[in-house]
């Protein structure tokens, strides 16, 4: 069967192959060409494939995107950077339309033990090593077309006090553009760090496509807190894949916080390969309008005595739709695995909907794995109780909904990060018609 890829992708591929000065001719040329072949062979997925059943690929296929041009740093860009950055004192890499911006990044006075760099044709040796050949077409598309990536390395035994920020901005002012952010993170043994990745739009009127691919290497005894915050506008398409690998006794927390984007699909693959690793995969998605937010997690236990905890929560208003597809996979050697997965959803309107699909696949015989999923409405008895103490309807609803989201935010260890995220969560909640002024029960 001949799989379809959109014309704009094929045209881009042809342009690359015919242009001797282009990406395809650099040192990474061979890998890029291979990735192009993968995209051509596999084609874009379609909804008949189980993993893409709920995602509106047709809408994506209908669009035409061009390679994002370089962006001039103007007031709008500066305002966006200022608005989206959690803290302007932290080490920060800013990428505009897939290009590293030395002007907006903050890389001076880097703490000892931290390396935060851009790369293009001279990537780290292990780039792509966590991305399996069976990865989706979109991951291959990223490998074929990414322009500049960000590499984070924390040296063995170093604890980096300040969180590391990576800000990817896509400019929606001048056309339907696509970017392929690439992030590679390597936490050497016994290191500790927090990383916040933020993906957002520079306000404009065009629909855009962001297609990130990230790899996170966590060596033995390292402790890593990772947050991925999405703040696109609701015309944006976003399809991401994240691959993490953990060595013995390491600890990785990875939170996906989705507060924006029209069509969002996040795949989170976590391989816990060696003994005694702990993995926390959390998620919080808040959506209204016709937003569609999909998360697919794949928790892969290969080492013995490891733990994983997943808590994904969603708050959906209007006609928003969400998917949580969570798989826990326990390989034969992974005895004494302790894996818990939970997905809880709060629907604020009759038209909002969610598809929650937990899956367990277990080949070891001595494990403890539990999963659960709930979809509920606001607790009216609780709201009445709050009102009976003088709290207005709007505040009562906000309190209840905010506390629902709080379960996830409370798991963020650093208070400064937690507070900044909470502020953005509140802002998103206020924008939902069922919560903001004029909402009713």
């Amino acid at each position: 069967m001949n799989h379809m890829i959109p014309n704009w992708v094929e045209e881009r591929f042809l342009a690359l192959q015919n242009d001797s000065s282009s990406l395809a001719s650099g040192p990474r040329g061979a890998e890029r060409k291979q990735a192009i072949e993968t995209v051509r062979r596999q084609g874009f997925p379609d909804r008949r494939q189980e993993a893409w059943r709920f995602f509106d690929l047709q809408e994506l296929q209908r669009q035409t995107f061009t390679a994002a041009p370089a962006v001039t740093v103007d007031d709008a860009v500066r305002r966006t950077v200022q608005r989206e950055t959690l803290d302007d004192r932290w080490p920060t890499a800013v990428l505009l339309n897939g290009r590293f911006s030395p002007e907006l990044s903050r890389l001076q006075h880097m703490p000892a033990g931290l390396m935060l760099d851009r790369f293009s044709e001279n990537p780290p040796a292990t780039l792509g090593k966590l991305v399996p050949h069976s990865a989706s077409t979109f991951a291959a598309l990223n490998s074929a077309l990414y322009r500049e990536g960000v590499a984070v390395t924390v040296k063995a035994g170093e604890a980096i006090e300040e969180p590391i920020q990576i800000l990817h901005l896509i400019d929606t002012r001048f056309g339907q553009v696509v970017i392929h952010p690439r992030v590679w993170m390597n936490f050497e043994h016994h290191s500790q760090a927090s990383v916040v990745e933020i993906v957002a739009s520079i306000e404009g009127e065009y629909s855009t496509f962001t297609n990130p691919l990230s790899e996170i290497f966590v060596d033995r005894e390292a402790v890593v807190d990772h947050i991925r915050l999405l703040r696109h506008d609701d015309r944006a398409f976003h399809v991401s894949a994240q691959y993490s690998h953990q060595a013995a006794n390491s600890h990785l927390t990875s939170l996906s916080l989705v507060l924006g984007g029209g069509w969002v699909r996040n795949d989170v693959h976590a391989l816990s390969e060696q003994e005694g690793a702990t993995t926390v995969l959390d998620g919080l998605y808040i959506a209204g309008g016709r937003q569609s937010i999909d998360h697919h997690t794949f928790m892969d236990h290969a080492g013995a005595n490891s733990n994983s905890r997943q808590l994904y929560k969603g708050i959906l208003d209007e006609r928003a739709h969400a998917v949580f597809n969570g798989k826990i996979f326990v390989r034969r050697p992974a005895q004494k695995t302790d894996a818990v997965q939970n997905n809880k959803n709060l629907l604020l309107s009759d038209d909002a909907s969610v598809d929650s699909q937990p899956m367990l696949e277990i080949f070891a015989d001595d494990v403890r794995c539990t999963h659960g999923g709930t979809v509920g409405r606001l607790d009216l008895a609780g709201i009445h109780y709050l009102r009976s103490r003088g709290i207005g309807l709007e505040t009562a609803k906000k309190l209840m909904i905010h506390s629902f989201a709080g379960d996830v935010l409370r798991r963020v260890r650093r208070q400064d990060i937690r507070d900044s995220l909470d502020e953005r969560v509140m802002q998103k909640l206020e924008s939902l018609p069922s919560i903001g002024r004029g909402g009713s029960l």
Binding site: A381, G382, H384, R387, S388, R389, G390, I391, A396, S403
Partner: protein, 257 residues
């Protein structure tokens, strides 16, 4: 303070209250007693504005205001407080934050300045002593994992913080052992004041040994069938509701004959 006239109410099409008349003056404590299903809790919920109940006839005035026209939060801000029979657990909402939000919304309505977190803590500490609660309570989610006694003490604590004009206690004694009952009653008694009234709803006379009422009403099949002084409660305790039925001339339902 409270003036109820010919109040009829139903839930899901079933008429529960069939013409209640009740007047409570400032400073008075009224007890409402009656068997299960007589409409006691319905009356309490209607005063607090619970949306499931439909008032089909009659009026309720509180300090001259038409209570039935007001949203639950407006009633609370004006000073109507219901201590719930079954306080609701709200996981994730911190008790201190909740109560400070409530107090500040009430104060805003009264035209008073909001209290700061520090000031509020002082108020809380003082009021918590009154109902014998320790500080760990401040950090817990509303009623989450509370024992029956803790939930009831929490209701009285909220009442003490919000300082309402009319306090309705809905079977606050149910599920309490004698020590907890004394603490709760003691808390209520400390709140008694010339400008504050109480409606104490209870199945048993026991609570009224500690919260001594000025008037006792007997509610039966949605109507107040008898009113009297505090000795009426003792009579009821002695003779049971059976005797009341006969005395007021209401036939027992056919099924129970």
């Amino acid at each position: 303070m409270l003036e109820i006239k010919n109040l009829h109410a139903s839930i899901g099409g079933n008429e529960i209250l069939r013409g209640i008349d009740l007047e409570v003056r400032p400073g008075e404590v009224h007890a409402i007693m009656g068997p299960n299903g007589s409409g006691k809790s319905t009356l309490a919920h209607i005063l607090a504005g619970r949306p499931e109940y439909e008032v089909t006839q009659g009026s309720v005035l509180y300090k001259g205001l038409d209570l039935l026209e007001m949203a639950p939060e407006e009633r609370a801000r004006e000073g109507v407080f219901l201590a719930f029979q079954y306080p609701v657990e709200i996981p994730g909402v911190n008790t201190t934050y909740f109560l400070r939000t409530a107090l500040n919304q009430v104060r805003e309505h009264r035209g008073e300045a909001p209290v700061s977190a520090g000031e509020f803590l002082k108020i809380m500490r003082e009021k918590m002593r009154m109902v014998d609660m320790d500080e760990s309570f401040l950090k817990r989610s509303i009623n989450e994992g509370f024992s029956g006694g803790e939930k009831k003490r929490n209701e009285i604590l909220q009442m003490a913080v919000l300082e309402p004009g009319l306090m309705v206690l809905d079977e606050t004694d149910s599920g309490l052992d004698i020590d907890a009952l004394k603490i709760v009653a003691d808390g209520v008694n400390k709140l008694r004041a010339p400008d504050r009234s109480f409606v104490v709803i209870t199945h048993y006379q026991r609570l009224l040994n500690y919260i001594v009422p000025d008037v006792v009403h007997v509610l039966y099949q949605g109507r107040i069938v008898q009113s009297g002084g505090k000795e009426l409660a003792l009579e009821l305790e002695e003779r049971g509701y059976e005797e009341i039925r006969e005395r007021v001339g209401i036939n027992r339902p056919a099924m129970q004959v």
